[in-house]
Structures are given as C-alpha cells and as structure tokens.
C-alpha cells in the first residue's frame, strides 16, 4: 500500500512542533536553574524558580504528547510500525528518553535532570529531522516480521534509558569532581591556596569551569546521582539483553543462524559486555564510583557506534536500516 501523504505530512509538522516545544521546556529548566542561583545569591526563597521548573515540566508533557502523535501518525501514514529506519528510530529513542525522565519524575525529585535530558533530546531530534530524515515508505521484505515489534521495541527502550543514564553519569562525574575539590579545599588553607594557584579562573577555560561549578553545586550529592544512574541502567540492561536475544531469535528465522558476528550483532555484544563490566565494577572495591562511571560512558559510546557508525560506515546485514 502506498503511504498516506496527508498523514505523513501531518507527522512531519507534529515533529517540528515537538522539537520546538521541547526546546522551550529546555529553556524553562535552564531558567529555573538561573533564577534559583539568583535567589540564593540574594538570600530569597526560590519560589519563582520552582514555579518556572514546574511550568517546564508541563511544557515537557505537552511536547511528549506531540512526540507520541508524531510517531503514531508516521506509523499510520506508512501502514506499518514507525521504527523502520534511522529517522524513525532516533525519534523513538528520544521518545523513550523523555518517557523515562517523566517516569522518574513521578516517583522522585529529579527535575534537576530536565535541561540535561532535553538538550540532547532536542539535538538528537534536530539531527534526525535534518540529516537522517527519509519520507514515510514501506519496509523491506526481510523486516516484515512480528519480531520487528519485539526486537526493535526492546532495543529502542534500552537505548532511550541508556541515554538518560548517560546524562546522569556525566552529571555524577561533574558533581564528584566538585566534591573532591571541596574536600581538598577543606583540608586546610594551604591546600586551598594551592588549588587556586594551580587553576586560576580566568579566560574561556575559567568561565567554563565556573559554569561546571555552578551547575554542579545545584546538583544533588554524587552518591544519589550514582544510585540514580545505576537504577536506570539496572532497568535498561535486562531490556538490552532481551533485545539481543530477540534479535538472535529473529535472525534464526530470517538469516538461518541466531548469531553470525555481523557488525551490528558484534557492536551490540560489545555494548552488552561493557555495561556488564559496569555492573561488576560497581560491586568491586576500587572500581566503584568514578571508574564505573567511565565504563558506563564507554558503554554508551559503544551504543552510539552500534547505531550510527555501523549503519553508515560499516556495511552488514543491518544495512537496510541506513539513511535513504
């Protein structure tokens, strides 16, 4: 069946609106941070900033609704599941990332994540809408299987969650850096002076440091960020495992073997191994904390290679997922 042109167009319009509304939400979270800082400097209660933050959450929910509509109309337009190419895949991954953020928000106070989740989401969607965009169309016969619903949905869900965990991990490293510095300063005036002397806060580097500093001060304790990142990875890792297994079962039907070290399979395996190493590192003395955090970021980098480098640079059996 030919794609429905009107619905496809509607999906594209909704997509643009999603990005726009998310961008506003992102600015809202950033404004919350700025006003909270200002209020703290003046010694006021941060009522205005809290109101701004809550408004940003409301805007995010609106954007999320638009995002869901984008995906649904795209699927209806193409008469198939809306995750058949990289544009659609990226749209879905960001949808999962925002959903994970909102789900966390229901259970605990994680509004501080807002700007940091929305910024990569907006960037990612911007990239998807420009570089990766392809018009709605049908699927290749080999993709025509109900396993596309199981395998790809699991992969997307895990990826969106890994994306959020990556954001939290970066924040954790920032906060841990600040706490270490604070600890060094509190040892004594001599040490503090040494710290100041070694790293004078001037120029571009100085202002970048000041920004990291300001953001890090606003964040909750590194301990909590670490646990939050672990919680999200603890959700994503079994889903990722399931995605690989479902992919293997599908591969058995489609390509006559469940595992063949195709580049996509191999990078999914590498990603799995690195996150497995993270989980082990977190339970190993001398590896928990920063080293484990670096492992988790390496895992996320592998995931990115898995999706973007493998699809665009390396040719393999998953090449149909590429651009155009």
């Amino acid at each position: 069946m030919a794609p429905n042109v009107h619905l496809a167009h509607l999906s594209d319009v909704l997509f643009t609106w999603t990005v726009f509304v998310y961008a506003i939400a992102m600015l809202g979270y950033a404004a919350e941070f700025a006003f909270a800082r200002l209020a703290r400097a003046r010694g006021d209660e941060p009522t205005r900033s809290v109101r701004l933050g809550k408004a940003a959450v409301a805007v995010t929910v609106v954007g999320w609704g638009l995002h869901v509509s984008t995906v649904v109309t795209r699927g209806l337009a193409a008469h198939r599941v809306p995750w058949g190419n990289m544009y659609e895949f990226s749209t879905m991954v960001t949808l999962v990332a925002v959903t994970v953020f909102l789900a966390l928000l229901v259970r605990q106070q994680v509004r501080f994540l807002g700007a940091f989740v929305m910024a990569p989401v907006v960037l990612y969607l911007g990239l998807a809408g420009t570089v990766l965009y392809v018009p709605a169309g049908p699927l290749q016969p080999v993709l025509n299987s109900y396993w596309i619903k199981i395998h790809v949905v699991a992969a997307i869900t895990a990826s969106g969650a890994f994306m959020v965990s990556g954001v939290i991990t970066v924040l954790y490293l920032m906060k841990a850096w600040l706490e270490r510095r604070a600890a060094a300063v509190s040892i004594g005036p001599g040490t503090a002076a040494a710290v100041e002397l070694r790293e004078p806060a001037v120029g571009v580097r100085g202002s970048a440091r000041a920004m990291v500093d300001g953001v890090a001060r606003w964040l909750p304790a590194s301990d909590r960020l670490d646990r939050l990142a672990y919680k999200v990875i603890g959700f994503a890792f079994p889903v990722w495992t399931f995605a690989i297994i479902a992919g293997a079962i599908w591969a058995k039907y489609a390509w006559s073997r469940y595992w063949g070290w195709d580049p996509k399979e191999t990078w999914s395996f590498i990603t799995w191994v690195v996150y497995a190493a993270y989980l082990h590192a977190r339970a190993t003395a001398g590896w928990r904390g920063r080293r484990a955090a670096y492992l988790s970021l390496v895992g996320f980098a592998c995931l990115m290679v898995d999706y973007y480098v493998v699809n665009t640079v390396i040719t393999g059996l998953h090449s149909y997922a590429g651009v155009g």
Binding site: Q108, P141, G234, Y258, I270, V273, V274, H280
Partner: protein, 518 residues
C-alpha cells in the same frame, strides 16, 4: 557477579560472595587460581573481550564476506598477510579470541562453584540475630508500646511471615525478645542462575558448532532437491557431523514469485515448494518466504536468493535438437543484470559455448546496456558464441559459470528476446526459449539451538531477579520498660538493612514500622 563482599562488619554483609583471600603464605598455584577467579580479573577479561571483538567489525571477515577479504588482500598486498597471521580476518574463530572467552568462563566457573555452595548454605540458615545497637544503623527507629514484648514480637513475626520474610524469634534474656527477618534470597539465586545460564549458552553454541551442518543449493523452478550431500552446491558440515545423519527429506520448487516497489526495491518473495519427509512420505506444500523457513526433520530450509535461468535450445544445421536446457544466470546488481555461461559439448561438429548478459528489463544507458528493473518485464539476452575445445575432458574441475574464452574462437554476437532464434555461420540455430526463476536455499541444522534458547530465557529471568530483587534484613527488639514506670511501657527498636537500593529499602521499612505501630 554483581556483588562482592567488602570490608564491612559481619552483620552488614548480605552478599554470599567469598571474602577477599589473603594472598600470603599459600601455594602459588592456589594463588594463581584465586587471582583468576577474582572480580578484577573478570573485569579485565570482559574489557579484553569487548576490545578483541572490535577488529572483527572493522576488517572484512571470511565467515561473513570472503570476497571482501580477497579485495582487501588485493588492495593491501603487504599488510594483509601480516594481519592474516594474527587471524584478523577470522577474529571470532581466532585462537586468541577463544583464549579470552575460555579464560573468562574458567574464571566464571571458578567463582560460581563456591558461591553456589555458600548460597545453598545461606538458604538453609536462619537470619542472623539482631545487632546489639539497632539505633546505630542508618535505617532505624524506636517507639514505646503498651503490649507485652512477647506479644509485639509474635505480632511482628506473623506480619513478616505473611509477607514472605524468613523470620526467627529469639529470647535474649531479662524479658527482652527480638525478631530477625530476611528477604530477597532470590537476588543471589537470580545472579547465580544468570551466570550458570551463560555457561549453558556457551555449551549450546559449542554443540551447534560440533554437530550441525549447513549448505546452499540453487534450484530452478520445476526442479527438485533431495537432502544428500552431493545435491548441495556448497556444503559445510561441522567437525563431528556424519553424512549418514542427513535427514532424507526432499522438495520440488513449484513456483517462485517476487514483487517490487516502483523503484525496484523488493516488496515480497514467495517460493512454493512441495516437500516430503522421506521418499515414501506424503507430499505437503509450503510457501517459503523471508522470515518463514520450512522446518522439516530438524532442519530448516531458508530462501536466501533468487535469479533467472534462461532456457536455451540449440539445433544442429540439420535441425536436430542437440541441447535444450535452463541455465541459471547469476545476478550482478540490484536490478538483476545477470551473467552466465552455456556449454554445448556434444552433438555438433565443434564444441560450442556461449557467454551472455541477461537484462530482465532492458535499458540502454550511456555506460552500456543494463537492467533497469528487477522483474522480467522486457527480458533481453546479449550472447556471444565461442567455438573450440571447452576443456571439459581435461579432467580439471571447471566452474559451470566460467568459459575458457582465451582458448576459443569467437563466432559472433547477438541480442535475443524470448522466442527469437539466431543462426550461426555454420548453420547451427540458437533459440532463446524463455525465462525461468531460480531460488537459492540455505539448509541448516543446529542441534544446539534449543539449549541456547533455554539458556537465553534463563539469562533474562536470572538478570531480572538479580537486578530487581533487594536482599534486605529487618530486626525488631522489644524490651520491658523500667520497673518504676507506670504504666509499664515496652521499648521497641527496629532497624533495616539492604545491600542495594537504600531508597526503596527505607520506604519499605517506614511502611512496615507504620503497620507495626498501629
């Protein structure tokens, strides 16, 4: 393993992981063994495994695409042999890759065996007694109650048991009673199941690698296949596979159809076969499609490719048919521009051969003729005829897709459409009778698949349990108040402890205490 003991007091130790061994004064072999089974080594091996897999995705691999490996050798004649010495074109079959994962699995088994023993023991043990100073723990509280200590403890124990806590009540003397409870043994169970399942998975993979087989065969529409090794175009048995194990099924390709999008990308493929489990079994029909292999007698038949076979008829100058057969042509591009060779060794004064290019939908482009659509909408055949010794009697094996044109004499070229004939100078007539489809099938049998699947399911279940379940303890102590107090009040202290998810544990603790206070 997702948990390991740290230097915490015994009461805080909820993991059954063996504590760090002291490395002094023991047998060096034992020390090496402990080193190998330590978490640090496991971490290192995991990192190595991830690193070792990377070259397998950057360099062409023989197992995936041997032609690309050949091209790499041609492009890098000096570097490639060196890379080959280190098995970099067969990374996943390389000895060093096997060394890493085998070491990892030895380390894993070495770590698993004592942990299974410890966990089995922990499952039978009662929760440890309440620590002396419950209020020193992070998650703890105290309150005063009217009831007798024994009643409070009995009530608490009943509540905990109804919530599936393993509970034990202890008399501590002087009228003090305490209850100790533990829950979440499933965490370590899941952890162990996950890791054991990994070992089973490896065993299943090894089983397939040792006893399976696979092969490919090209079948033109109307032709059949029976499952004996000589029927295959390519057959790769595993190390311990014996030919007598080939199940005796057979099939005939009845019909093949393909449909395409307007831009030539495929929309659907169907290969309808009549198959039998054995020569005397009843025939059944099955439509083999992408994602839908035919499962017969433990083997699976997959549709992996298709193309066109050209029916060519050759008559000698007297008009007698000397050749009439369908020859498969091999596709060269997505639009199925195909090439092929026809050999007519008998019946003519000189042996005759043809090289040809076939265009299912003919299109003339500036760079030459090529097919512009994969369906046979405007089939056209470019033929060149060659006379001479085809070399078939030389005894050397020869590909059916190659003709030794260097030793032959070109006797003309032409372009034909179905039904059209071409008369050579010596009076031989060549007729392009028509086009038939052919399909290639891969037939595979992997006896390890079921075991691998079971292991995979256990991996997910074990993982979920080990990441979702919290191992936690709960203690409550009820002590009679001072004799002078009137009314005499019972002092209740309670504490909770969890190895993971402190937030979730605190919430559960608060709820539990709230219930108990009511």
């Amino acid at each position: 393993m997702t948990e390991i003991a740290t230097e915490t007091p015994a009461v805080e130790q909820l993991s059954t992981a063996p504590s760090a061994p002291s490395a002094t004064g023991i047998n060096p072999l034992l020390r090496a063994w402990r080193q190998l089974t330590s978490m640090r080594t496991a971490l290192l091996l995991l990192a190595l495994l991830a690193l070792a897999a990377i070259p397998g995705t950057l360099l062409p691999q023989r197992g995936l695409n041997p032609a690309k490996v050949g091209a790499y050798f041609a492009a890098h004649p000096h570097l490639a042999p060196w890379l080959d010495k280190f098995s970099l074109f067969d990374v996943f079959a390389a000895p060093w890759f096997a060394a890493i994962y085998l070491l990892l699995f030895v380390s894993l088994i070495g770590c698993l065996v004592p942990r299974i023993r410890l966990h089995a023991r922990a499952l039978r043990r009662q929760p440890p007694p309440a620590p002396r100073h419950l209020l020193r723990m992070t998650t703890s509280t105290d309150w005063a109650a009217e009831e007798q200590p024994a009643d409070i403890v009995a009530h608490t124990a009943a509540l905990l048991r109804s919530r599936h806590w393993r509970t034990v009540v202890r008399e501590e003397g002087d009228g003090v009673v305490s209850v100790a409870a533990e829950k979440g043994y499933l965490r370590e169970t899941g952890n162990l199941v996950f890791h054991v399942a990994l070992v089973v998975l490896l065993a299943g993979i090894a089983m397939g690698g040792m006893f399976g087989y696979k092969g490919t065969v090209l079948v033109p529409v109307g032709d059949g296949f029976s499952n004996v090794q000589s029927s295959y175009d390519v057959f790769s048995p595993s190390r311990f596979f014996s030919n007598t194990h080939l199940p005796p099924f057979q099939f005939t390709l009845d019909r093949f159809s393909a449909s395409y999008q307007p831009d030539g990308t495929p929309r659907s493929f169907n290969a309808v076969v009549d198959y039998r489990r054995g020569p005397d079994a009843p025939a059944k029909t099955f439509d083999i499609r992408p994602n839908e292999p035919l499962a017969v007698d433990g083997s699976d038949v997959y549709l992996v490719g298709h193309g066109y076979a050209l029916q060519i008829e050759v008559r000698d100058p007297k008009g007698r048919v000397v050749y009439n057969d369908a020859t498969p042509f091999l596709p060269d591009d997505a639009m199925f521009t195909s090439h092929g060779v026809v050999k007519v060794p008998n019946g003519l004064a000189h042996q005759l051969g043809f090289t040809g290019f076939f265009y299912p939908t003919y299109g003339a482009t500036p760079t030459g003729a090529q097919s512009v659509y994969p369906a046979a909408d405007d089939p056209t055949l470019d033929l060149a005829a060659w006379q001479g010794d085809l070399g078939l009697s030389s005894g050397l094996p020869q590909s059916v897709y190659d003709l030794p044109v260097a030793q032959l004499k070109n006797v003309g070229t032409t372009q034909l459409t179905p039904g059209k004939s071409w008369r050579l100078k010596d009076g031989t007539t060549v007729t392009f009778v028509g086009v038939r489809d052919w399909a290639t099938f891969q037939i595979a049998h992997d006896p390890g698949t079921k075991l691998v699947l079971v292991a995979a399911v256990l991996i997910v279940i074990g993982l979920l349990a080990s990441l979702r379940v919290r191992r936690r303890r709960f203690w409550l102590r009820a002590a009679p108040g001072e004799p002078g107090d009137l009314p005499r009040r019972t002092v209740v202290t309670a504490a909770g402890l969890a190895r993971s998810d402190a937030d979730g544990n605190a919430t559960e603790f608060d709820r539990l205490v709230h219930r108990l206070k009511d």
